[in-house]
Subunit: 156 residues, 2 copies
Amino acid sequence: MDRTDQSLIALRRILRATELYGRDLAKAAGLTAAQFRVLQIIDETGASTPKAIAMRMRVSQATITSLIDRLERQKMIERKRSEIDRRQTDIIITEQGHQTVEHAPDALQQRYVREFERLEEWEQAMLVASLERVAAMLDAHDIDASPVLDTRDIRT
Amino acid sequence: MDRTDQSLIALRRILRATELYGRDLAKAAGLTAAQFRVLQIIDETGASTPKAIAMRMRVSQATITSLIDRLERQKMIERKRSEIDRRQTDIIITEQGHQTVEHAPDALQQRYVREFERLEEWEQAMLVASLERVAAMLDAHDIDASPVLDTRDIRT
DNA sequence: TCTTGATATTTCGATTGTCTAACTATATGT
DNA sequence: ACATATAGTTAGACAATCGAAATATCAAGA
């Protein structure tokens, strides 16, 4: 097997592990995966708008409306009419919502962080360089992507 | 920002790029993402069973039944009662199904492969080592995972 | 062989995520 | 002030997903 195949297999293992884990994580928090992602985005800054979330997740605004409906019913977030532009709705995270994101038992990421930080300096540097290389190869042409660097839920 | 954060951000870029692309890929093939994944799994070996697919994708069998219903209606696969264990249904890919998987315009993977193969030897080796390291950190404890190495649609 | 328990699949009913199109309210430019 | 654009919601549709119940088959033991 050549290196290209090896790299693809490793990539798929990474994708698979994270995807499968994402479901469990959300479930442990009492939410669905999509709801949890929305909550994470809002939690990043404490507030957002449906429009911004929709662009960030690349789904329609209508989808966000229904996700927000559910999160609101669960008291994870609150809707508030924007003062500056009354067409907009500010989505504000509640204390409970913040706690949910904060305390979600993200075992996968925790384990990753733990193991990563046990590595030698040079190895950490190599991994970062490699991952950034791969990321660039994958999303390089994605020029219409969100201008906001995706830093959601960095660190556990 | 420390190296841990940098690696997490790069990982998220990888995850995001592949997830977003997966939707487009399936759509280009005239299927949904879930349907396309099922078809890929069947295409790997030419045939499978609902049970095996469900375990592999970690969804319930009921979900697979409905996905298979749709793929069957589109003549991508055929159902056939197993001869050896008549409780089982063999899911067999049709020529059309195979062609669909084969010719799906997987631009993302094509670009990745193209760029990967342009790299220096040593850099390819570094990427493989790094990706495998990360994969091990992420799915190491996933001992109940499919025993079959996930080689679906290797190479374009 | 007959029974009993396990397994593979499907069916049914429900919830969720997702879309497009239409609608409402607000903003903005001329 | 009017026309047009933008933010959000609503309505109606379909797909993915689940758990529970139903059906058919297998397998092991009395």
